[in-house]
Assembly symmetry: C2
Homo-oligomer: 129 residues x 2
Amino acid sequence: MKQGDFFKISYKVTNQVYDGFISTFNDKNPLHVNESYAEDKGFNGKVMHGAILNGFLSNFIGEQLPVKNVIVQTYKIAFLKPVYLNDTLLLKATIADVFESVNCIILKYVFENDSEIVVAKGEISIGLI
Amino acid sequence: MKQGDFFKISYKVTNQVYDGFISTFNDKNPLHVNESYAEDKGFNGKVMHGAILNGFLSNFIGEQLPVKNVIVQTYKIAFLKPVYLNDTLLLKATIADVFESVNCIILKYVFENDSEIVVAKGEISIGLI
């Protein structure tokens, strides 16, 4: 992997992902589970948990990169727009820096929704082990 | 909630959490699922997915804070030491700043393992909605 390498992959927030996240971590905040509460707060429906996107990033790093000998060192993520159930998110990630001296890669990424709106963005530091 | 407020809560990486995370996000990187691979890389066993800690943070923010009208704006997390299956992590979180003008709270946190070693730390920006 080298500076400038670009990856993209789609992740859908299916019912299976949503239910799996809730049954694993038991976050039933009304914003995430109560449609009318979320609408009262100005959203278009139940807002998906931000940490679901961290799960997608885990899949991307652990499974989709061209090498397997990786470990996440840091995550940064900013949630810019709400994500809803059944949204398909396009993850676009670029290798921003490679620090060979410390076997570390910095990856910058965005998640776009179906309307090509960036719903989240961030940076991940990945160690090569 | 006000500056200096302190919270602590334990989360255990049970088999149910580990299996639930994998079945939801399908990250079967060998570091996470292959004991002997992880040991060859210098770890004491399968290393848990970092994003599991984001799931615990989701539970903490959505369910354990004294108010429910919250939404995560940003997460930062640094993984300092490996987390293993059946580790119990103590999450210690402090309200570092409250920005009333923009209804925003900054929370700083660490996760400690059973040996009181800090395994991860970070910062979360939470909006009040």
